[in-house]
Structures are given as C-alpha cells and as structure tokens.
C-alpha cells in the first residue's frame, strides 16, 4: 500500500517533467538572442553563408513545432540533444559536472544540518536565554547575506589572508582520486586515499559553508520552533514521568517528532540549494552544474538549457520524493 503511494508519487512527477520540458522549450525559443550569433562572438570572419549553415545544422531554420516534435521525440528516447556551443551531448556535459554539484549540495546540506539542528535544539532548551538570542541573531545573519558576498569575504579571510583553505577548485594539482562516484569525499574514503580526502575536504569547506549558511539559519529556526512546540507535548512529559534521563527525553522522544517540520523544510530548500549554487560555484571555481546552467542561458544554448533545467526539476522532484519517504518514516501516522 505504501509502495503504491510512492509509485503514485513517482508517476505524478511525469506530468511535471513534461510541463517543465515544454515550458523551457517554448520559453527559450521566445527569448530574444540568437544562439548562432552569440556563438560566433564579437569578432572574426563569419559569413552569412556560415551562419545559415549552422542554423540548418541545429534545425533552427525549422518551424517551432517541428523543433518541438523532434525535441520531445528525442526526449522520450532519453536523448537530451547536443550542446550548440560545446558540440557534445548534453547528457555527457551534465554527467561531468553533476558530481561536483551534488557533492557541494550534499556538503552544504550536511553542514546546515550539523550546525542548524543542534543550535535549534539548544536554543529551544534555553528559550529566551542570552545564548538563544545570540543563536537566533546569528541565524538571521545567515539568511541576510548575499551568498556571493559571503563567499568572497570568507575566501579573502580564510584562504588569501590566513591560508587555511584553498581558494578554488576541488583538488590540488597533483592529487588524484580514483573516479568511482565522482564525489571526491566518498571516492577517497572508498579507495583509502586519506591525503586525497583531506585535500578534497579542505576544498569543499568554504563553498559548503557559503552555500549552506542560509539553510543552516532556516533549519535552526525551524528546529527551534518545532522543538519548542514538541517540548510542550504530553508525550514528552510522559517520557519524563517514566523516569527517563533528560537526554533521552530530548533526543529520543522530542527530537524524533520535532524534526518532522525540519525535514519538510530541507526538502523545499534543496531546490534553493541547487538553484543557488551557481553563484558559489562561480566564486570558488567549482566545476558544477550551476555554472553550466548560467553559461548556457547566456549563450542561448537551447539543448543545454533544456537539459540542465530538466535535470534541476528532476532533482527537485526527486529530493521531495525522498523527503516524503523520510517523512513517512518519521511520522508513522502517514504510513498506511
């Protein structure tokens, strides 16, 4: 029964994905700017003949509905097309940049949870204390800073001035990590490459903090308020009345329920995390999907834009699906 519900959810994403595909396609075609013209740049010797040839090559001379038909037809077969500018299959380009983006997003997510949840719990336990107020003040600070600004400030403090962390990239030159999942932190552990692990970790640190700062703030606030609510619940009092240690009361009985709203928020914020990372990627020279996305929009590289956005949408939908499953796990009432 539960699996049916999940299956239903999965199937329910299909119309959304189709909708996304259509919207992006049409949107891009009506966006001013000509991909060929942009591709040829502001210089050199390009004849009209050449431009026409290129246009024909990419099917851009066809009426829109023909293009759409072809696009959807290819899509159904799992073919995302080929980038105009990079002349490589979109799927391949996404596949190359994806691990970096996922690693960054996961790290940011992890960071925000590791920081946000304990702070939220602690603040709830010490409601209205000085520490609580300080925590919440800091939390607000986190969502009040434009990420690129935070990133540059952090970089100049920790990397350039103090030399704690590297400025850019995912790995130092000369350090190699065998490619298994593409997530360096995981690959290095799998291959026992501790030098690589350390190096990858140092590189990941600042971008993850920059990207996760806002989410950490949100998580700490949500956790705080839901913990405050849960701590008032009868079952928490009952847990105390059973003679349980306070730590167990909080961690086992309160937290399990208090985390439910947090999980929901994480699900929603993952979209923001994925969508916001292009800025952090640009600042920290992180070779991810976000940069690819922006580049492709600026270049009007239709197939690439379509592919990347479809992919974003897919990840978002997937993340929410996972959240739903976690949610049912946390909240047995939803299990039926």
């Amino acid at each position: 029964m539960r699996s049916v519900k999940i299956l239903e959810r999965i199937l329910g994403t299909i119309p959304i994905m189709i909708g996304v595909a259509l919207v992006v396609f049409i949107f891009m075609r009506f966006t001013p700017g000509d991909p060929i013209d942009l591709m040829m740049g502001n210089s050199g010797n390009v004849s009209q003949q050449e431009v026409d040839n290129l246009r024909a090559q990419f099917n851009l001379d066809q009426p829109i509905y023909v293009q759409l038909k072809e696009y959807l037809g290819n899509l159904v077969q799992g073919d995302l097309g080929e980038s105009f500018k990079k002349r490589r299959p979109v799927a391949e380009l996404i596949g190359e940049t994806l691990p970096a983006t996922i690693e960054l997003a996961l790290a940011a997510c992890l960071f925000s949870m590791i920081v946000g949840i304990p702070i939220g719990i602690y603040s709830a336990l010490k409601q209205n204390s000085l520490i609580d107020r300080a925590n919440m003040g800091t939390a607000f600070l986190g969502i009040s800073m434009p990420p690129f600004w935070l990133g540059i400030v952090l970089m100049f403090i920790f990397s350039v001035s103090l030399g704690f962390t590297p400025v850019k990239g995912r790995l130092d030159f000369g350090i190699d990590i065998q490619h298994i999942t593409g997530l360096y932190m995981i690959d290095s552990v799998l291959t026992g490459n501790w030098e690589g692990f350390r190096n990858a970790f140092m590189h990941l640190l600042l971008p993850a903090v920059t990207l996760g700062a806002a989410m950490a703030s949100i998580i700490s606030r949500i956790t705080r308020s839901s913990m405050l609510e849960v701590l008032q619940m009868d079952y928490v009092t009952l847990a105390r009345a059973k003679g349980l240690k306070e730590s167990k009361v909080i961690l086992k009985h309160a937290l399990r329920n208090g985390l439910i709203p947090t999980v929901t928020v994480i699900g929603l914020e993952i979209g923001a995390l994925l969508g916001g990372n292009m800025i952090v990627e640009t600042v920290f020279g992180w070779p991810g999907l976000g940069r690819l996305a922006v580049e492709s929009i600026f270049n009007r590289d239709y197939p690439l834009v379509q592919g990347v956005v479809m992919f974003y949408a897919f990840t978002f939908v997937l993340a929410n699906l996972i959240v739903d499953v976690v949610y049912t796990y946390l909240n047995p009432k939803l299990r039926m």
Binding site: F30, T31, M136, S144, P146, W149, A272, G275, V294, I297
Partner: protein, 269 residues
C-alpha cells in the same frame, strides 16, 4: 521590535534621501574614483563612506539606494502576496478544477530553481526595474499560494466558518472577512522573510549582470559591482553590504516579532 525601529529609520532615510544626501547619487568625478572612507588615510569627510568606481559618493548612493532596494523588496513581496492570496483563497475554499489547475501550475513553477528561473526571465524580458519585479513575482507567489491554500483548507473546517455559513454569508464574504484575517499573519511572517530574500535575489542577479541598471543606485547591484574592488577598495562592496544585511536582519526580526505577537494573541486564555 528593535527590528521595527531600524526599518522605520531606513524608511525615513529612503524618503528623505534627497535632503540628507550630501551629493547627487548620479554625479561622479573620476578624480574621486575609489576614494576610501573618511576615517581611512586618503579619505575626506565630504565623502564619509568614500566613493565608488565612478567617483560617486558612496553615502549618497547608499541613501538613495535604500529607496530602490526597499521598493524592490516591497513590491516584489506585495505582488507575490496579492496573487498568492487571491488564488490560494479561491483554490483552498472552492477546490475543484480551479484548484487542480492552479496547483499543478504551482507545482510546475516550484520545480524550477528560483535563481535559474529569474535569470531565464530576465533573459526573456530584458533587464529593467519592471522586468525585475515581474521575474521575481512570477514565481514568488507560489509559496504564498501554498500556505494560504493549506491554511484555508484547515480554517474551512473550523466551526466559526460553519457558523458564518449557517448565517447565510456568501462564499466571498466567508473567504475575505472570516478566514483571511485568521491566516494573514502567517503570510505576513513569510512575507517578511521573502522581503529580504527578494533584495538578495536582486543582488544575485546583479552579480550575473542582470540586476538594476546603473547608475541607479540599488544596494544589490552596488554590492555586486563593488566586489571587483574587494582587494583595493573593500568599502565599495562592503558598506552597502552591511546596510543590506542590517535591513534584511531587521525585517526578519520584525517578522519573528510579528509571529510572536500574533501567536500570543491567539493563545491568550
């Protein structure tokens, strides 16, 4: 509530910018380019916060910038709230095909990352103030729609709504006069959060060259362009940054305060 006081100060500053500002925000003298703030060697008191890359007085631009930034935040949020509320009320109250259509559309929009969507919109519309607002609200309403719709569905089952129905009030009156006042506070709280977020979005779009047009002074674009001078003229980016952070911070604090007040009121007794 200190948030509220700061916001009032900001608004006053914005309104009286022409009176307070020592210089025109548009007049730059290249001789003053990247002049440091007064308290730093090489600075002078006529340019308290120094000057930007065009030699324009940073203080004056910050003062005028308050107008643009606040207006962007306010307008983008207000329009989002308005659309979200109207659609959310109708969807949540009547359900049916209208709800299905709007909800599906909302789901669709939700699947796009906000920034990517805004970039796409800006590419589609071209830059400019109006287009920026349009790009921000085109997706911004969805969140408000979702909470309003959810809350209407909860409130709808409450007895006071049934009582109103029993008194023969029409649907519109029930939505607007009975339900709305009871759910608007959560919108306001979310609204304050979004208010700040919208300004940060403008900054992020400026980072990519799609924000407010120069020489119009908006904080977001000031921070974004100023980052190029982070090494040799940190103030160009940092000082507007501090102003933006303080504003967003106080708006969030205000939101939190509002939440406390509204919660309190309902919980009393």
């Amino acid at each position: 509530m200190s948030g509220g006081i700061i916001i009032v100060i900001y608004i006053l500053v914005a309104v009286f910018a022409p009176v307070i500002a020592p210089h025109s925000p548009y007049a730059g003298d290249l001789a003053d380019r990247l002049k440091p703030p007064a308290w730093i060697e090489g600075g002078q008191w006529s340019h308290l916060f120094g000057a930007d890359e065009q030699g324009m007085d940073l203080l004056s631009r910050i003062l005028y910038g308050a107008r643009i930034s606040i207006v962007i935040g306010l307008l983008a949020t207000a329009i989002s709230i308005a659309i979200g509320t109207v659609l959310g009320l109708i969807s949540g109250y009547y359900r049916g095909w209208f709800d299905t259509v709007v909800s599906r559309f909302a789901d669709l929009l939700l699947a796009f990352p906000f920034l990517i969507f805004a970039i796409g919109m800006m590419a589609f519309l071209g830059p400019g103030f109006n287009n920026l607002i349009l790009a921000l609200t085109f997706k911004g309403w969805v969140e408000f729609f979702r909470i309003i719709r959810g809350e209407v569905m909860v409130e709808k089952t409450k007895e006071y709504v049934e009582a109103a129905k029993a008194l023969g009030r029409p649907g519109i009156a029930i939505m607007v006069k009975e339900i709305l006042p009871n759910i608007i506070h959560s919108v306001v709280v979310l609204g304050t959060l979004r208010f700040g977020y919208m300004m940060i979005m403008e900054a992020s779009l400026s980072f990519l060259g799609l924000g407010i047009q120069p020489p119009t002074p908006a904080w977001g674009s000031m921070i974004a362009t100023g980052r190029e001078y982070m090494l040799n003229a940190w103030w160009v980016s940092t000082i507007p940054g501090i102003f933006l952070v303080i504003l967003v911070l106080s708006i969030n604090l205000l939101g939190e305060g509002l939440r406390d007040i509204t919660d309190h009121r309902l919980k009393a007794k």
